[in-house]
Amino acid sequence: MKKGNMRLIISLLVVAALYAGGFLIEHTAGSKSMVVTVLQKGAVYALIAVSMNLLNGFTGLFSLGQAGFMLVGAYAYAILTIPMAKRAAVYQYYDGGWVQFTVGVLPALLVAGLVAALFAALIGMPVLRLKGDYLAIATLGFAEIIRAIVQWDTIGPLTNGSNLLKTYPTLKNIMPGNTVLFTFLVVGVCIGLILLLINSTYGRAFKAIRDDEVAAEAMGINLFRHKQMAFVVSSFFAGIGGALLAMYQGSLQANSFKSAMTYEILLIVVIGGLGSVSGSVMASFLFIACSEWWLRFLDAETMLGNVQVPLLAPGFRMVVFSVVIMVVVLFFRKGIMGTRELWELGNRRQAKGGRKS
């Protein structure tokens, strides 16, 4: 019992240190700095990656619909929060749109999650009866269908069709100067909830389904209901993640939520380790930092003295990046963490020692 308390205190301290770190970096590096961008976007991706990991890594469902649920969440958030005064301008082709009220940011975030969860519940009913790669391709298809519907001109007064949504409250509006702290707070709470779920009796049931569906069912676990739960919960957080992404971007367009986005998140999950929350979080920050910041120099045509550095040209960054990803996929299949968590690293060693004695 005491040991458990100690561990709780240590984890709380670590989390507090991360928050303080984020807070300090923003205040010392200034909001223009790339570090701040990376911290914001990395945190948002961390939530989305963890939500996808809940499905693909913990429940063993190969779903490729994440971008679709993010899209739903992002749109729900934006539609509900665009200020009345700006609606006429944003919905310039649709006479100001149908929605004529606004709600606060936090309620809107919650609604974003709920709407995504509702979509997941409806889609899950037929789709979750499929297995393996058929499930993957069906969820991918649904994500594309959602995107087509959102862009449909007839519901333009709701979604603004295929046009950009803007002027909704973004990260900087909510806690001016403390955008990183705000992102960390929301993401932290969400990931905390997912962790609690994973370590609850339901989380164990999810893992049982991942390990062996037949045995799980023989243990009295209702496969469909539990898959549905994982699917809905994952989509709920993907919806919130999508809303956060919208807040981070400042503008929103259905077109960017393509299957390529799902693939990117899947690759983050793989790099972090399928079945590891802390792995997904670390991989998100790493992935975002590399793609947005550290590897950017690869895209710039650089002169060293009088010689143009070979290969460096727009697009080279992504080539290097995808080669690295292939190397991970092929040779480090377990990713950074495998199925372990950061805080379990010490434990396993103890267990090993115990067996020897």
């Binding site: 298809g141 727009p314 292939m326």
Partner: protein, 292 residues
């Protein structure tokens, strides 16, 4: 009525035939490896770029066989590098690898071309304009379905009557047992990829003659649609893939004719989901039984 619909039907049959060329690659690979080869659409795109870069310095007559050879080589290399090492890994790993390869190929093509659309060379014979009843179209529209049917028949013959074809069928029924029976799994799989890539290369010649701009992501959509066609026709069945592709091509164009253009892509996916739910084995697929 028929006069107004004829151009749409022609366009549908033509694009359907081109999807069929890609779909054959999907269905063969899935039949044997149970792998959705996400990179197949990108191999198709690469074939388009090969043609553009080759014709810049070589005559077209020489370029065409070279394009097919290069595409086949690419398909072969992708299989050896990205799929072979994962043969004993869980299926999810191989699929992730396939997604990774697709990501890599797209980024590579983006880098080489600068992400700009490239103009596909004019193939003099295929690009001729002809009149057909109420419709004016390129000759390739007529050639495509004929060529597709011809190639599919040839392929079915190959699979049913040659030794390698027999091996392919054996491997698709039972991977392990056929290995025990002394079939060289790796060469069978390589042959599968070679055939699939060659078909994709021929498909790309036809497709890009019709739709002359090549961008790094141009193959993604036709690739997905071809996959849906393969599922619709019954995965593993080559005639099924062709018929599925033709149906999808025609439906797509009829939907556009009905004015629902924004949903022509969504339709494909809706069809996929309906098929998966109500007839997961597709039109001509074989039933498999689950073992506990």
């Amino acid at each position: 009525m028929f006069d107004t619909l004829l151009p749409y039907l022609l366009a549908g049959i033509s694009v359907g035939g081109q999807y069929a060329m890609i779909a054959v690659g999907y269905t063969l690979v899935y039949g044997i490896l149970r792998l959705i080869n996400f990179a197949h659409g990108d191999i198709f795109t690469a074939a388009g770029f090969f043609m553009i870069y080759l014709t810049a310095s070589l005559p077209i007559g020489l370029s065409i066989p070279l394009v097919i050879i290069l595409t086949v080589a690419l398909g072969f290399v992708v299989e050896r590098v990205a799929y072979k090492p994962l043969r004993s890994a869980p299926r999810m790993s191989i699929m992730i690898s396939a997604i990774g390869v697709s990501y890599l190929l797209q980024n590579l093509m983006w880098y080489i071309t600068g992400g700009l659309a490239k103009q596909y060379p004019v193939l003099p014979f295929l690009s001729q304009t002809i009149r057909l009843g109420s419709a004016t179209t390129k000759l390739v529209t007529i050639i495509t379905p004929l060529l597709t049917v011809g190639l599919v028949v040839a392929l079915v013959m190959l699979i049913n009557h040659t030794k390698i074809g027999m091996a392919m069928r054996a491997v698709s029924v039972d991977f392990e047992t056929s290995q025990l029976m002394g079939i060289k799994i790796n060469s069978v799989i390589s042959v599968t990829f070679v055939i699939g890539s060659a078909m994709a290369a021929i498909g790309s010649l036809l497709y890009f003659t019709n739709y002359t701009a090549v961008t790094p992501t141009v193959g993604a959509m036709p690739g997905l649609k071809a996959f849906v066609a393969a599922v619709f026709g019954g995965i593993g069945s080559i005639p099924g893939a062709m018929i599925g592709a033709l149906i999808i091509g025609i439906c797509e164009n009829l939907i556009k004719a009905a004015g629902l253009t924004a949903f022509s892509d969504a339709f494909t996916f809706a069809l996929l989901i309906v098929v998966l739910l109500f007839r997961p084995t597709g039109l001509f697929g074989e039933k498999t039984t689950d073992k506990v």
